[in-house]
Symmetry: C2
Subunit: 248 residues, 2 copies
């Protein structure tokens, strides 16, 4: 992937789009997704992995609720990845990830992912740069394993918010009683490392395998939801799935 | 690894060795292994993966019982891999393997392994040769992941028996009441595919990463046990492990 400067990419929807029209379009896409997911499950040939990354408050949880969570829960699983447990630390960093790889017919959403091991760990200098390089290579190999050996289609979304938008959302968490549960002192500390995270993400994008990252302008939820839903819909349609014939 | 012709490698111990002297040496090594394994567990830095492959009746089970099973079970785990379950088939072929990768401080024995997916599946032509090549690459990457990202030292043993010895052992299973439980019609069918398995193994050896296969002449149990125990002992000693200091 070519070099990307996040600061040069807009976090806003393209100017010509109208919010109401887009929201209607999204509703239609979500409706289509329901049928496509049913087909994916029934055909039992492909699997889908959706990787969600982004700064704190970039809207990952909301996206899961409002778009990905709308499909039949029988065929959709969501797995959040937080700081590794002691048991997980006793293994290579992909060990805990691999067990949640999607089975055939399934859509698996990673709320944060194996990329944290080349992001947060790098920003805090818990590992050296050689380790980061080696991990990046291991991640690229690992994703190829899923893609080539289990028909896994991988969508990697970076939810791209501005620093200003993030600050507002974090502030909201201190003020809105319905959002206070999300507040964490640590987020304020992490937010100060913005430039370091930006750099770490840019390196991830540049060093990634041929499964591309999709940068999602995410200051406006309606556009973020539309773009993710549309990307997923288009990918699933491209699989040209068919219901299996009756086995006799 | 250079090209290996299994039919040109002896399945017998080197001529100059004396069975009794070797058995005494093995007992001494097994004694040392006990202490080394304790150190491995206590230091909690390295992990060990022992991969056992070989034709049917090449003596994998006996080796596990008589050598590897002599260590403290707290720090040694054995995992057999048989035909994959339906759930496992819904994932990439390394998914079921990865969850049994050794944690830090542990010795993990694989009784058969991820290599079955490029052996039995190839011999029976369940997958095409491109898939075999892609799997071999994935295996090499996977082992590097364990080695580089979890300090896993991998020992890959091929228990090398002659076709004649195998035939005798399979026959014994039909005659010795203590061994009849091991008898399986399918083994006789598989034994007929000897040449195909030999070729598949030779390709595995040739296409392997820089973690070498160790060919163990295995017609004589006493020599097989000695060589495996000695290899493990030497590897563990080479780690120059130390008991951790008291943390204050």
């Amino acid at each position: 992937m070519a070099k990307i400067k996040l600061s040069e990419i807009s976090t806003l929807p393209p100017g010509k789009l109208e919010k109401d029209a887009i929201k209607t379009a999204t509703a239609q896409i979500v409706y289509e997704l329901d049928e496509l997911q049913n087909l994916l499950y029934a055909q039992h040939k492909w699997s889908v992995l959706i990787v969600l990354q982004g700064m704190d408050a970039s809207g990952k949880d909301g996206l899961i609720r409002d778009v990905l969570g709308q499909m039949n829960p029988l065929g959709v699983k969501v797995q959040p990845f937080k700081a590794p447990t002691e048991e997980e630390m006793d293994h290579d960093f992909l060990w805990r990830i691999h067990r949640y790889a999607p089975a055939k017919g399934m859509i698996q959403v990673f709320n944060r992912s194996h990329y944290e091991d080349v992001l947060v760990q790098r920003v805090h200098k818990w590992v050296d740069s050689d380790t980061i390089k080696a991990r990046m290579k291991a991640i690229n190999d690992f994703e190829k394993l899923l893609a080539e050996h289990n028909n896994t289609r991988i969508l990697k979304f970076y939810l791209h918010v501005s620093r200003k938008e993030q600050a507002e959302r974090l502030k909201e968490r201190t003020e809105d009683p319905r959002k206070m549960w999300k507040y964490n002192d640590k987020d304020i500390e992490e937010a100060k490392l913005w430039k370091h995270y930006e750099k770490a993400y840019e390196d991830v994008f540049r060093n990634c395998n041929d499964i591309p990252w999709i940068i999602v302008p995410a200051d406006q939820n309606w556009y973020k939801e539309y773009l993710v839903a549309k990307t997923l819909r288009d990918m699933l349609k491209g699989l040209k799935m068919k219901y299996p014939m009756l086995k006799r």
